[in-house]
């Protein structure tokens, strides 16, 4: 290939990719300002590094969309998220959920003691969790990824299910009521440190 042709190829490729990036940027521009609000707690592009705020980057699109709808309806109560979700239109929820779902899941590097991992694994088996969250515990569509999520958030949300605070997935709530707080702690730590 001659050098001039190579230059043209580079130029075309650059334009193509730049165009693609602009198109993607444009796609989310209606919610860009709202996404910036999300980043304040959930981290840049949803890659939360604070344990109380779930990682959204790489989470399942349909799951996040349903959660926003449920928060707006009050099925999933949250003093912070409730008012934010209430202000969103469905089209905005879809765009925001799509944006986060397309980001890469961040490295978390949680670890767990062997004994606790065994206890957590036992909970996963008894609850048949992989039947819905799948074998790698990464979820699909309306079922969320649990693997490598922050343990603080996992425990808090499971306790919310157990204690009837979170009402938007009744089957999960009933199941989690059958486990002790210690078992939920074990499984939170196990899930956060999960590796295949």
């Amino acid at each position: 290939m001659r050098y001039s042709n190579f230059k043209h190829l580079i130029l075309i490729t650059t334009l193509l990719f730049t165009g693609y990036a602009v198109a993607e940027e444009d796609k989310y521009s209606p919610v860009r300002e709202k996404l910036e609000t999300c980043f304040a707690c959930h981290g840049q592009n949803g890659a939360s590094s604070m344990g109380a705020f779930p990682i959204l980057a790489g989470q399942e699109f349909y799951y996040m969309y349903v959660q926003l709808k449920d928060m707006k309806k009050g099925l999933r109560e949250s003093a912070v998220m409730g008012p934010i979700a209430a202000s969103l239109e469905k089209s905005e929820m879809k765009l925001m959920a799509e944006f986060f779902s397309k980001q890469a899941w961040p490295e978390t590097n949680y670890t767990v003691e062997a004994e606790q991992a065994t206890a957590g694994k036992r909970v996963v088996g008894a609850g048949q969790c992989v039947a819905c969250h799948l074998g790698d515990l990464r979820g699909n569509s309306r079922v969320p990824r649990l693997a490598n999520q922050h343990p603080d958030y996992l425990l808090a949300t499971m306790l919310d299910f157990k204690n009837g605070v979170r009402k938007n997935s009744p089957a999960v709530a009933t199941l989690l009521k059958t486990f002790s707080e210690q078992e939920l702690k074990d499984v939170s730590d196990y899930l956060s440190s999960y590796s295949e």
Partner: protein, 573 residues
């Protein structure tokens, strides 16, 4: 042959054994067809004639369960009890997706079609395992399914293949190229509908049911035109009047502890619950070409455990149903468990075989392996129950009512016999079933309909401190007696195949794939694979060699080790 009895119930009377066997695939019939089967081998497309004669075709494996009768009896006997110890891997094909694998390979004139989780389809050279083409369904963003992203296979007709998808579509492919010909929506996945079963095809109609018994769907079987994808008819597996007869006992006569007074009061207050009552049909139907009828079983009511919100028998959940193939109109039904609150739905595919009734007559019969752990034997004419077998699994506190704290019961919600198809050997009068021994606690909680989300009305929990295992059982369906039973290390799920070589083949969650003597249960051969063998085996012949093929990819529901292999075996030279 059909005679109307008083009361309008049709039943077969004085039917000669020979003619019945000719009609539904006896060994004598099979012998004749083996010869003719070789003539089919040059056909380039799947004709209706080939599909009709599949019970005796020892070259191909044209239906998910072998033939329209779903006997899973493959007539070839090249691999038999004398030489099965020489069985060895002929080839292994690795699919792209490493996840739960439940596919039933079908084989058409030397080409094999298999599927993986998330709706990939592969065409393979059945002799070498070399891929001819690969199709990946473009999945929509909304899927709603429990128990793994499974797919159980495709159906073949003329030069096309048909597959149901997790996002509740029906897809038609060109069998030679894997290119999509048409696609149509079967139902709305946002409301809990999804597809994992292989379709069944007959006379240009693609028949398919639906998953969704855990999501408050209204179940159905639909028939689509194979050429165009146009909907031809729908049978709603939940009628608008789902109340029934307020049955107090199950099909075995055991009292189910229903509070019928409370249910009647609830019915008055809430009305008929038919719109969200579940009743998925998620395994293949048997087809009787003589009477032009389909036989299928209907799954559990929604929500699974909380029955107070759905008063009545919840027809036709947990039932055998027969419909007219032209119209989809119901002909007869038989309900095993009225108002089920244990998720012990009917799902293992029904089988058409000649059976002996209580009067000693041979009639056209239907077999079903229940999650209860019983094999049920019906008269195909009116769906009535002739007998049930001895229990194949331990029964402990069956029909104890679920409680908030959890009530322990055996069988657990996975069975007994799960979705796993049974096999039969009509010559021996045996049905072969694989079972689970998996005690569970059943928890109930009042739960209103959650708009397409998982709706169990409680929870099932495996009891970690209790031992689990499985078994392979042979049942004499003319007497109901168990002929032999073999215990396995883990609960069994996947399916089984019987052959003319006096063998049954089935796999286990620990990766072992085994052959047993079908008369005695003696273990004859086994192979250790790399993942759980939890898919139904098939068999076929290419260039004079009989092959046994099975998927080794584990199972999401029971969390058996995942993999991605299709493995074909033949005798060592």
């Amino acid at each position: 042959m059909l005679k109307q009895k008083e009361g309008g119930r049709a039943t077969f009377v004085k039917v000669g054994l020979a003619s019945l066997m000719m009609a539904i695939g006896s060994s004598a019939f099979a012998d004749e067809e083996i010869e003719r089967g070789t003539l089919f081998g040059d056909m380039q497309t799947v004709t209706q004639d080939m599909l009709d004669k599949s019970a005796g075709d020892s070259n191909n494996f044209l239906h998910t369960n072998g033939n329209y009768e779903q006997t899973r009896f493959y007539p070839a006997e090249q691999i038999n009890t004398d030489n099965v110890h020489n069985l060895e891997k002929a080839w292994t094909f690795k699919m792209d997706v490493v996840d739960s694998l439940e596919t039933s390979p079908i084989v058409v004139n030397g080409t094999m079609y298999v599927t993986s989780s998330f709706n990939h389809v592969y065409a393979l050279d059945a002799k070498t395992g070399k891929a001819k083409w690969h199709y990946q369904h473009e999945m929509g963003p909304i899927t709603t399914y429990c128990c793994g992203p499974n797919n159980r296979g495709v159906a073949a007709y003329e030069d096309m293949l048909f597959m149901g998808t997790l996002d509740a579509k029906l897809v038609a492919l060109d069998a030679k190229t894997g290119k999509k010909v048409w696609e149509t929506e079967i139902a709305d996945p946002e409301l809990g509908y999804s597809e994992t079963m292989a379709p069944t095809i007959v006379n240009g109609k693609v028949l398919i049911g639906t998953n969704g018994g855990e999501y408050g769907i209204r179940g159905f079987v639909k028939a689509f035109d194979a050429k165009t994808g146009k909907l031809l008819w729908t049978f709603n597996s939940i009628p608008e009047n789902s109340v029934g007869v307020w049955a107090e006992n199950d099909a075995t006569g055991l009292y189910m502890h229903r509070d019928i007074k409370a249910e009647k009061a609830a019915l008055k207050k809430l009305g008929d619950p038919y719109k969200t009552l579940g009743g998925g049909v998620w395994q293949n139907m048997a087809i009787d070409r003589d009477s032009n009828r389909a036989y299928f079983v209907v799954g559990n009511p929604s929500p699974d455990l909380y029955g107070a919100i759905r008063p009545g028998d919840n027809l036709y959940t947990n039932s055998l149903v027969s419909v007219d193939l032209e119209t989809g109109e119901k002909i007869c039904h038989f309900q095993y468990i009225a108002h089920d609150v244990w998720d012990l739905d009917a799902v293992s595919p029904p089988i058409l075989v000649p059976v002996t009734n209580d009067d000693g007559q041979t009639v056209k019969g239907v077999l079903h392996g229940g999650k209860t752990g019983y094999v049920y034997v019906h008269d195909a004419g009116d769906c009535s129950l002739i007998r049930h077998s001895e229990p194949m699994v331990m029964q402990r506190d069956r029909w104890v009512l679920p409680t908030k704290e959890g009530a322990s019961m055996l069988p657990g919600a996975n069975g007994g016999v799960e979705w796993s198809p049974m096999a039969t050997d009509p010559g021996q009068g045996l049905a072969f079933a694989i079972n689970l021994h998996q005690p569970m606690t059943y928890h109930v909680e009042e739960t209103p309909y959650p708009d397409g989300k998982l709706w169990l009305g409680g929870a099932f929990k495996v009891i970690p401190t209790e031992e689990q295992w499985g078994n392979v059982t042979a049942v004499d369906y003319n007497t109901g007696k168990i002929k032999w039973k073999v215990k396995t290390q883990h609960p069994m799920i996947g399916g089984i195949l019987a052959t003319g070589g006096g063998l049954v083949f089935t796999g286990e969650g620990n990766g072992l794939f085994k052959a047993y003597n079908s008369s005695t249960g003696e273990l004859m051969w086994q192979d250790q694979t790399n993942a759980g063998v939890n898919a139904p085996p098939s068999s076929y012949n290419v260039a004079g060699d009989q092959f046994i093929v099975v998927g080794s990819g584990g199972n999401a529901q029971l969390d058996y080790k995942r993999g991605n292999e299709i493995i074909a075996y033949k005798l060592a030279k």
